[in-house]
Symmetry: C2
Subunit: 352 residues, 2 copies
């Protein structure tokens, strides 16, 4: 037996969210969209000429890029596309965070930021949220090598107001500021209009939530053309064909159906607002989410107990073991029917 083990990168293996396979289950644990993707996606799959797969896909993802540019009213050169927003974010860290100074992000936020930083040997510093889980914008005024703000933040669901985002941008003109807007389509206010004024802003989005294409792995970034060019250059020097040809077609079809997109987002927001009333009546408190999930805490029952009791009923939600958040459960907004089943189960659990 050789000693190759000595040179293996040691990682703390990430345990992916549970993917239970019960047929009767209600899956509210991974912030997926409860509605199917736009009908055009299914048509694109049906119409796809499989013989074309023998050839490499378009490395520039031109069709999808053009569809996104039209949707957001920007130029195609302002759009970078990647295999999920994880890919876009990791590529952005690699491209823009090359300072000796640490880049900043909140202590409670998307859990991959520090993982990529460690992996890419980028220094970073976590800025604690206040006791109400709010970002203190003044924390981001010190010298740094970049800033990443998930907005709305996860798993809290809280939105940073546009003027607060602008405050962070105006204090950080010499570094790139990333607005990770994975959940922005559920009633949040995007930083996109700030692109006019700030050439250091990069807005990152995903198809996994509002566009119901988690299974397709699509993310993108919008920024000024120079910033976006840097991303493509870094990507192409690393791996020149990343998005498969079928996904390029399916994702472009999803983008073209604005009406379906807006209607399903509206439905999820409506269900979420109803959920706030119902869960408040059930003795839960929560930050005022602008996402497709709620981060809820029961006034009396421990989160772990509720988690297990729901699980026994094949209702799956997410529990994180982090220091300041272990009393909470993250509950994805499902269909109205799924949510009614959730409320019934929670009523039972309160009475147990």
């Amino acid at each position: 037996m050789g000693n190759w083990r000595e040179n293996v990168r040691s990682v703390v293996p990430y345990v992916p969210g549970e993917q239970p396979q019960f047929t009767d289950m209600i899956k509210l644990n991974t912030n997926e969209n409860p509605y199917p993707p736009a009908p055009g996606v299914m048509q694109a799959l049906q119409a796809f000429d499989g013989t074309r797969l023998r050839m490499y896909p378009d490395p520039n993802v031109t069709e999808l890029q053009a569809a996104l540019a039209e949707f957001y009213g920007v130029r195609p050169e302002q759009i970078f596309v990647g295999v999920g927003s994880d890919d876009v974010l990791a590529m952005s860290f690699l491209t823009f965070f090359n300072s000796e100074k640490p880049f900043f992000f909140p202590d409670i936020t998307y859990s991959f930021y520090d993982v990529w930083a460690d992996l890419l040997k980028i220094p970073y510093e976590r800025k604690p949220l206040d006791p109400d889980f709010r970002i203190r914008t003044e924390d981001y005024e010190a010298e740094n090598g970049g800033v990443v703000i998930a907005n709305p933040n996860a798993p809290t669901g809280l939105l940073l107001a546009p003027e607060e985002m602008e405050q962070i941008l105006s204090h950080n003109r010499d570094v790139v500021v990333i607005a990770d807007e994975a959940y922005i389509d559920f009633g949040g206010t995007s930083a996109l209009p700030l692109l006019q004024e700030y050439d250091n802003l990069l807005v990152v989005r995903t198809f996994s939530k509002s566009r119901a294409l988690a299974g397709s792995r699509v993310g993108f970034a919008i920024g000024n053309p120079e910033l976006i060019r840097c991303l493509w250059d870094a990507r192409n020097s690393f791996n020149s064909y990343t998005m498969d040809a079928v996904t390029q077609k399916a994702a472009a079809a999803a983008v073209r159906d604005r009406a379906y997109f807006e209607e399903t987002c509206r439905r999820i927001v409506r269900t979420r607002e109803e959920a706030k009333k119902r869960l408040a009546a059930l003795s839960f408190t929560f930050p005022d989410s602008k996402t497709n999930f709620l981060f809820i805490r029961h006034r009396e029952l421990p989160a772990e107990k509720i988690f297990e009791a729901l699980r026994a009923r094949h209702i799956f939600v997410r529990h994180f073991n982090g220091e300041r958040i272990h009393d909470y459960l993250r509950v994805t907004i499902g269909t109205d029917e799924q949510m009614e089943a959730l409320y019934r189960a929670l009523e039972e659990i309160e009475k147990e």
Copy 2:
């Protein structure tokens, strides 16, 4: 305007191989398979239930892993899957090459090895091929942090004999040795049987050549379960959902059709062997390729001139500007019809 530009990673932008769009063209420049993927791939696309795309894909790529395990007669725990072999190779470098010592690879080989090493800050050393483009196995006996051998090598097409590969493995038991077998299915002898003896061997493969799925982005690695576990752990700590759900199905379908795979590989080998005769008759010399391309040099005409003359006829081949290889053209093996058109064009060009 801010100074964020100072912290942008400077890269030499890679110029991807030409993707011309003429309808009458003969595209022999990117080593794609001239035949379509297995019929089961088209069926899998047609049968795919698009509504499932709202959910995350299987992070463990279980179905494809099982199909590959069965095909190669290994256990599923011996298979790692990634988005193209570029993804698998980059992830392998990241996972296994963490020594202070340089890892070794030939000076003329796949052009991304040094790119990933630079990106991941891994030291490396290139070992010159001999004047006949052969790997000198003794070069790989010095202390190192790992070894990567493209076998057959690209763009030379030359195969390293199994006993030479074993020699490299036996001198490097304390580091991981990667056999990048992208082109092995065209008549090469794989290192796979050496897995019995060498727990430090990782065999990397792609679906882009022999399986005609370049458009789908699928690669995989086979190794002992411990090595493969390390790869999954590193991958999952970095990006937990990489392969989209449609591709997982399509690729598994391709693997299940062994007869189609073997028949199309056999056809390409037959066309290649005929091409060797025809091109030799046309005053070309070339290493004895065991791949789906030939690396050809004309006895009199400069490569650049032939390249341009073919291009004018809408026949696209590849020309590299590297120091020892600028006299050569890399020509992908197409269908018999495409190759006949190539021979006719070359005859004309010789007479010009």
